[in-house]
Each structure stands twice: as C-alpha cells, then as structure tokens.
C-alpha cells in the first residue's frame, strides 16, 4: 500500500520537469514536496504508532528508498528520515525524543549526520572530532544535506570518557559552527562543517559505554541497505529508459535495438538489475535477522549494487548516444546521482573489503 501511494504521488508530482524546480531552489530540493511527504506520513515512517508513525521496518524504508532512486528525489529522506530519525530512536532519551520526533514527523526539523572526516571512501572512518566540557572541536566533510539541516548529529570522541566514540546533537544555528555549502554532483546540497567549541548535547539514552558506537554502526548498515534500494530504483528506471530508447531510436532504417550486440548488452543490464533486486531483499532481511553473517550480506549486496550501477549507468549513456551525455536528458542525472550514491557511507572497495573479511573463516 505504501508502495502504491509513493508511486502515485511521484507520478503526479515529481516528473523530471517538476524536479527541475526543486533543483533550482535555495536548498536544492522542493519544500512543497517535503511538506507533502510529511502529510503522507513518509517522514514518520520509522516512528512508533503511538507517536503517529508507521513503525515501519526495513522493508518499508526500502520501498521508499527505491522510489527515491527511481525518481531521483532530492529531499533529505536518507539524511533525516533514515539516519537522523533512526539515531534519535536508538539513542535519544525520552525527553529528547519528545522534543525531536514530532518535529521530524511534521518536517519542521531536518537532521543531518556529520560523520565523515577523511577523503577516503574506501576505508573505515577514524574519528578525530572531539567532545570536551560540553563543546565540540573538529571538522566533518561532505555532510549530506548539511546545507539545510537544522541540527547535526555528530560522531566525536568523548574526552571525558576514554575517548569513546559518542553521538552529539548540535544546533546548526549555534555560534562556533561554521560551514561551507556546496552542490553535490547530482545537484543535492551538502556542507563541510567545522565545530570550534560549539556547544553540543549528548544523545542521552541509558546504555552500555559503547551504545553510541553500536548505534552508529547499525545506522551505517541501515544506510548501506537504503542506498542499495535507492540504487535498485535508479537502475530499474535507467534500464526502462534504455530499453525503450532501443526500440524508438532508428538508425540505418531500423531500431537500434535490432542489433544483437545491443540486445545482449541490454540483457546483461537486465541480469544485473535482477541480481541487485535479489541482493537488496536479502540485505533487508539481514538488517533484522541474526547478526551472524549480517555484515557479509549487507556489504556484499552494497558492493555488488555499486558495481552494477556503474556498469548500467555507463551503458545507458553510451546507448543513448550524444543525447545521453547532456544535462537535458534524465539519463545523465541518474548517472551523476549513482556516482554520489556509490561513494556515500563507503564505496564499493570499502564494502568489498568488509564482505571479504566477513567471509573468511575465524
């Protein structure tokens, strides 16, 4: 049912032409679409039912993310709905949740996860950012939707607690926070953020000493699965477009799809999509399944999806020919989006290494 409502909405309100308006807005997404998402309950997807949410599991989140990929939605769903809300649910205490969750649900509060510090997308991130005496010091880069976020959730080492990785809330409007906004390859916004003594509030739910680090790792796995689903949506859309183009475009007096070389390459793209579809479902199941083998399944799925996306996107441009290389056609937008998707929260190399490490006998 969620799936149908998403498809209906995006078909009516999120055509490629309508999307251009969002791209050209101040925060590079559509504010009106964002408030529609709130009205339809998408932003409260993960909230428990007594808070007006859908208590949705991995499957529903993935359905939403598939649509995000299929239509290249620009709004901060991954940043705020999946990661931000997810971390608040995992680690905020009751009074923090009472303050944050209603605003997350109605869209008036947008969160962004400020985690990445190094340029290396292929290795486990080593956090240097530090929290001491109530304040944060350090820099984060390429914070997805960091340009529009009202608050950041920041990973940092707690100087007062053996430098353990912990999570902090920082109001973006606070003093001693500076940032530099920029556009990602696909047109969405991001920011490099510096904290030089910004006052920060720990996520305060009770738990063992490493509860924040575990919650962060779990959230990054949720992000990996969400990005798999987004990738699936995007490559499905690309395959549909390319397959249609092969039938429409005529050269030498016949559709270019009459050429066996293109038929076989299209068949390859179809097979990759089917594999990503199966892996995406396996990854969703792994999120809620036994922890044994979870890393291997999720990272395997993500690594395979990254490789498939690269191939399919490149082939889509190639088979569309000259027009495929223009900004005018959606194909190039999918291409650039998949470049971003393929790097965020760990690229193919990163996940391949994790997949391999998890597969080796102890």
């Amino acid at each position: 049912m969620l799936r149908e409502s998403i498809d209906r909405y995006t078909a009516d309100h999120y055509s490629f032409e309508q999307r251009w308006k969002g791209l050209r807005s101040a925060y590079r997404y559509s504010e009106s679409a964002w408030s529609d998402y709130a009205d339809m309950g998408w932003l409260a997807l993960r909230l428990p039912e007594h808070m007006g949410g859908m208590a949705a599991g991995a499957n529903a989140t993935s359905q939403l993310m598939e649509a995000v990929g299929a239509k290249l939605l620009l709004e901060p769903i991954l940043a705020s709905v999946v990661l931000g809300t997810g971390l608040v649910l995992k680690r905020a205490d009751a009074s923090q949740q009472a303050e944050l969750l209603p605003k997350l649900a109605d869209g008036s509060l947008k969160l962004a996860l400020a985690h990445q510090e190094s340029l290396n997308a292929g290795a486990e991130e080593r956090i240097a950012c530090e929290y001491r005496n109530g304040s944060l010091y350090g820099s984060k880069i390429a914070v997805l939707h960091g340009d529009c976020a009202d608050r950041f959730i920041v990973s940092a080492r707690n100087a007062g607690a053996a430098h353990r990785v912990s999570l902090y809330l920082v109001d973006a409007a606070r003093t001693n926070v500076t940032w530099q906004n920029f556009s990602l390859l696909d047109g969405r916004g991001a920011a490099n953020v510096r904290f030089h003594g910004a006052s920060a509030e720990p996520l305060a739910a009770a738990g063992p000493a490493d509860a924040d680090a575990i919650a962060l790792a779990d959230s990054l796995q949720e992000a990996a699965v969400a990005l798999c689903s987004e990738t699936l949506g995007a490559i499905h859309a690309l395959n549909l477009a390319t397959n249609r183009y092969l039938k429409e475009r005529k050269q030498f007096g016949k559709p270019i799809g009459a050429n066996q070389v293109l038929q076989h390459r299209m068949a390859q793209m179809y097979m990759l999509e089917q594999e990503v579809r199966a892996l995406n479902l396996a990854a969703q199941r792994a999120l809620t399944g036994p922890s044994d083998g979870r890393d291997r399944i999720i990272s395997g799925a993500r690594a395979y999806a990254c490789g498939a996306a690269r191939r399919i996107a490149a082939e889509a441009v190639q088979m569309h020919g000259g027009i495929g290389t223009t900004d005018e056609l959606d194909v190039s937008h999918y291409y650039r989006r998949l470049m971003v998707t393929g790097t965020l929260f760990g690229n193919r190399d990163f996940h391949l290494a994790r997949f391999a490490a998890a597969g080796m006998p102890a």
Partner: protein
C-alpha cells in the same frame, strides 16, 4: 520462504551431508573430488546409491516412484552434493527424458521406461545437436519416414555425451518438412542396439572421451516409441531445455571449486599470498554470493508463480561463467604445476607430476568446462532469449 519450508530444507541438507559421509562409496568420492574420470560402473553405482534413498528421482511425482520434491528441494539437493565434491548426476534419464515421459508419454511408455531410469539399469543419451544444428537446434535434418508401424531414421547426431555407454537415446527427428522449422519435429526413443546405429568417439580438449557422433543409417524405430504427437516434438524439446537450464545451475560445484581455489592460493601461513589472485578471489566470492541470492530468489518467485521466462537463461549464463572463471583462476594458482598433463593418469590413480594430487583434474575440469557456456543453449542464445522474452527486443 516460510519457516516450515526452511526447516524442511535444512533437514534435507543435514540428511544429504550424513549420506555423503556414511553411504556414498568412498572410492567414488575420492575420484570425483579430484575431477578424475569416472567409468560407467562408477556412475551407475553413484546413481544407485542416490536411489537407495529415492533421491535420484525424488523430483518426480509420487505416482511414478518419486518423492514429489519441489524445485527448491531438488536445487538444495544438488547444491549439497556439489559442495561436497560428488560426481555429476547423469541427467539424461532422471532429469531430461524421465520428466518428458511422465508428462507427455503413454501409459505403456511410462511403465516400460520410467522404472529402469530410476534404478539406473538403463543408460540414456541425448540426441539433440547435429553438425548443422547447434544453437539453431530447429534446423535439424535427421529424418524419420513412416514405414508401416515403424519410422526409418536417417541422419547424424553429435556431441552425444556418453553414447558409448547408452542403452537408449531420446532423439529429435524431422517427420515432415514445414515452412516453420520448429514444426515437423518429433521426439523418438531409439534403442541403441538397433541395426544401423553407429557410435564414433570424439576426443574433447581435455583429451578424454566424453562425447560422440551417433550415425543413424536406416534405423527402424517402432511408432510406439514416439513421445507426444507426430510433429509436436518441439514442445517437448523446449520443456526439456528449460529443465536442463534450471536444474543445471551448478551452484554447489562452483562452491566446491571455489573452496579449493582458496586453498590453492593460501600460502604456508594460511594467508592468501598472491595479491592479484587474492583480489580475483574476492571478486569471485562476490559473484558466487550474488548467484546464490538470485538463485534462491528465482526459486521463491517460481513457488509464487511469478515467472518471466528468462530466469533459467539468467541462471545458466551466470552460473556457467562464474564456474569457468573460478576454474581459470585455479589454473593460474597452479602456476608451473599446471603445465604437465597426462590424460591417461586421469583414468586411474592420478600420479602428481608437479603440485597437489588434483592438479591434473583441475586442468581437465578447466578444459572440459569450456563447453559449459556452449551446451544447453550457448550464452549467446541465453542472451537472445532474455532480449526477446523480457525486453521485447
């Protein structure tokens, strides 16, 4: 997959492992796990040991002596046996012609042919390909002309695996000339002892004898040995080919070969030594993982009745290519040990020339499996099928 199905499948896996450990003749497993050549007697004992549990034909309906297994159960069965390094399940009787006979055959045909297939008392061969009809199977030219209560068959079949051991051959023949080459084909069961049947060996690139030419010279075949309608053979041929591709994904064999590859590459400290091979192993591991996931997804979809018609093609392409690449990496891992080769030793106790005692077997399997992307519909044909059936190209 629901919990009850999962539990049944897990129980089956445990039973199969137990069977491999306790019941399977050890001399056979010794040979097959080193890719040595098995003789007819080895294969018959292998198939009969499977049938001692009813497993050789467990995928058949109960009324014909099977256990009514689902496609999933059959898949898990082959996966487990393959993973353990068991021999090839000779498919021609139990997987190919058996289902054709119980689906399309007469009562008499079922009674005559099904029991000795199940017990491996009769060996079957597959008479499909011809010198001029490989990928374009429908252009086959072997003719069968009606003469009273018999057909008189003339022509030549090729790539006929283990025809040298066969008692029977199921055969596609042309019973009439029609505009559409697919029309006018019939499905005959030919007694290999009939006068006019000549089997000539063809040596494969592994220097062993697997395949043959079968010459048919005025061979009389009783009309009662035709399965299905005269001219309706193409339907049966396609039915069989889809079974061949679905069951033939060989996931277990690939896993067995992959585990061996990892051992080969592991150095003295148990570390993966060669960096380039190490990277290839990880990529192959990922492909195997994807193949496994998509295989079970397809089985799930089939159980739900959601099929596009391209699933078997997809699995065949992916499985055969992955298997070939694992074997290719294994040959690279052998290095200089992979240079010496003596096909004779593969028929007896292989003496290592250089390297581990399965060296010659790995080389042989690599060579033999060049055919994996050609038989059962080449990779190119599978791509054509996908392009046509789901992409509408």
């Amino acid at each position: 997959m629901n919990a009850a199905v999962l539990e049944r499948v897990e129980r089956l896996r445990a039973e199969i492992r137990e069977f491999v450990r306790t019941t399977l003749p050890t001399d056979i497993l010794h040979k097959s796990s080193r890719h040595l050549m098995l003789g007819k007697d080895d294969y018959v004992r292998w198939m009969q040991s499977l049938q001692s549990r009813g497993w050789a034909v467990a995928h058949w309906p109960r009324e014909y002596g099977g256990m009514g297994w689902s496609t999933l159960e059959r898949f898990v069965f082959e996966d487990e046996l393959g993973r353990a390094g068991c021999p090839w399940i000779i498919p021609f009787g139990v997987k190919y012609v058996g289902p054709v006979i119980y689906t399309y055959g007469t009562e008499r045909q079922k009674q005559r042919f099904l029991p000795p297939i199940a017990t491996a008392e009769e060996w079957w061969a597959q008479g499909y390909s011809e010198p001029g009809a490989g990928s374009d199977l429908a252009s086959l030219r072997t003719t069968a002309e009606r003469d009273g209560d018999a057909y008189v068959v003339n022509g030549q079949k090729c790539w006929t695996t283990y025809a040298q051991w066969a008692d029977w051959m199921f055969c596609l023949v042309r019973t009439s000339r029609e505009a559409r080459p697919q029309s006018g084909i019939s499905f005959l069961l030919i007694d290999m002892r009939s006068p006019g049947v000549t089997v000539k060996p063809v040596r494969s690139m592994d220097l062993c004898h697997h395949v043959n030419e079968v010459w048919l010279d005025n061979v009389r075949v009783p009309v009662e040995n035709r399965v299905g309608e005269e001219g309706g053979g193409w339907t049966l041929a396609k039915f069989l080919l889809v079974n061949e591709r679905t069951y033939g994904s060989g996931l277990g064999e690939s896993k067995f070969a992959f585990e061996r590859l990892k051992q080969l590459v592991a150095g003295q400290n148990g570390e993966l030594g060669d960096t380039a091979l190490h990277d290839r192993i990880i990529e192959l591991d990922l492909r195997l993982f994807a193949l496994e996931c998509v295989s079970y997804q397809v089985l799930d979809d089939m159980a739900m009745g959601v099929e596009t018609g391209a699933e078997a093609s997809m699995l065949k392409v992916r499985a055969s290519e992955t298997y070939q690449d694992i074997l290719e990496a294994s040959v690279d891992a052998l290095g200089y040990a992979g240079l010496a080769y003596d096909a004779q030793t593969l028929h007896g106790e292989a003496l290592p020339h250089l390297g581990p005692d399965d060296t010659a077997g790995i080389l042989r399997y690599h060579l033999y499996n060049r055919a994996a992307t050609i038989y059962g519909g080449s990779s190119e044909i599978q791509h054509n099928i996908i392009a046509k059936s789901v992409l509408g190209l």
